[in-house]
């Protein structure tokens, strides 16, 4: 038998490989579809950080809750977490230790200068129409865990939080 790779065999292999690549995408999507999604409001467990990593007066950004950017804040009263997708037009609000006339930490949205309070999530200044939604936390084995929206009904009233 001829052990050489003929042009025909090579091309068939090539087409076969292309087809395999082509079909893997839809198949993966189907598997993903069949995987039951978590129902909204069901308990989540997002391990955010070790409590020791976030000392009083600081915050941890760049994590997500229910696919929304979120922030963990540690102040004198303890830990708090908010989703930081701005209720105005959906930019991501950021932690500022001081900002403008505020000589205390605030959450600042760079898009249209929206300012939120770090203790309540309420709007202090700028165009955002509503407070940032708070996330319920739990502490376990020295780790801070995000478990659910504090007020799911409130989240559902926010346009930029529609999924």
């Amino acid at each position: 038998m001829n052990k050489q790779t003929t042009r025909r065999k090579f091309l068939f292999g090539f087409i076969g490989a292309a087809f395999a690549v082509y079909i893997t995408g839809p198949l993966a999507m189907m598997l993903k579809f069949l995987w039951p999604p978590r129902k909204a409001g069901e308990e989540a467990t997002v391990v955010i950080a070790k409590a020791s990593e976030v000392p009083v007066g600081s915050a941890k950004e760049k994590w997500q809750f229910e696919k929304f950017p979120a922030i963990l804040i540690h102040n004198e009263e303890g830990f708090r977490a908010f989703a930081v997708k701005c209720t105005h037009l959906g930019c991501t609000a950021q932690w500022r230790v001081e900002y403008g006339g505020y000589k205390r930490p605030v959450l600042f949205c760079p898009c249209h200068d929206g300012i939120f309070d770090t203790k309540t999530g309420k709007v202090l200044a700028g165009p955002p129409p509503a407070a940032l939604p708070e996330i319920q936390l739990e502490e376990k084995d020295g780790k801070i865990i995000a478990v659910r929206w504090k007020d799911l009904k409130y989240v559902k009233t926010l346009d930029v939080y529609k999924t």
């Binding site: 065999k9 999507m29 993903k32 579809f33 999604p37 909204a40």
Partner: protein
């Protein structure tokens, strides 16, 4: 050196002696006049059907056919399930495309005179396929159980109900009660995911068998 695929095939061929039969089925040349795009419409209908079967099976994983749950389960598919809106939309558009393709296919067959002897029976199988496709779409339309589908069904059922003599009986069988309600939804769901797929499967078997036996009709 045999490739993996060839070895795989050889294993079956050794046992079932498939080569000859498969060659006949797969290597049959398509007559040149039948490569015109108009002659692809039947195949396009079939492709639509396959897409509908695959996406329909996926949707059936989340859809719940009861008045309480139907609408919210569709909403769940659209808003929560990963790629849910994608697969539902593909199902939706493939259903529309299938009806268009089937009707155009029928026009092609009519305008090329392909329904004439000896293909009378295949024309009849085709009419049955057209009807089942339409009932497929009609039954699927009720399933989301919103105002649109509820009233479309209420009004649409007046079409078979207007058939002389048999009309009222047909209406009763479809509707399952005094008005469109839980029984209707159950019946339409049964039609949509069980009875019609079986009927279409059998009709397609007959359709394709006849096409193969009789060949594609020659141009006028």
């Amino acid at each position: 050196m045999a490739t993996l695929g060839e070895k795989f095939f050889a294993w079956f061929d050794e046992r079932f002696n498939l080569k000859e039969d498969l060659r006949k089925i797969l290597k049959k040349p398509v007559p040149p006049y039948a490569t015109h795009p108009m002659y692809c419409l039947g195949g396009i209908s079939f492709l639509c059907y396959l897409v509908l079967v695959v996406t329909g099976i996926l949707l059936a994983r989340y859809y719940i056919p009861t008045p309480e749950e139907a609408y919210s389960s569709v909403k769940f598919i659209m808003q929560e399930v990963t790629f849910g809106s994608l697969f539902r939309s593909i199902h939706h558009w493939a259903a529309n495309m299938m009806i268009a393709a089937v009707v155009l296919h029928m026009f092609r067959v009519y305008l090329t005179g392909a329904f004439k002897k000896p293909r009378e029976l295949n024309w009849i199988a085709g009419v049955a396929l057209l009807l089942t496709t339409l009932i497929f779409g009609f039954s699927g339309y009720l399933l989301p159980w919103d105002q649109l589908s509820y009233w479309a069904t209420t009004v649409g059922l007046q079409i078979p109900a207007s058939i002389p003599v048999l009309g009222p009986a047909i209406l009763k069988i479809f509707i399952g009660g005094a008005e469109v309600g839980a029984e209707t939804l159950a019946r339409f769901y049964f039609l949509h995911v069980f009875l019609l797929p079986m009927i279409v499967f059998m009709l397609l078997g007959m359709h394709f068998f006849m096409v193969r036996r009789q060949g594609i009709s020659e141009p006028l």
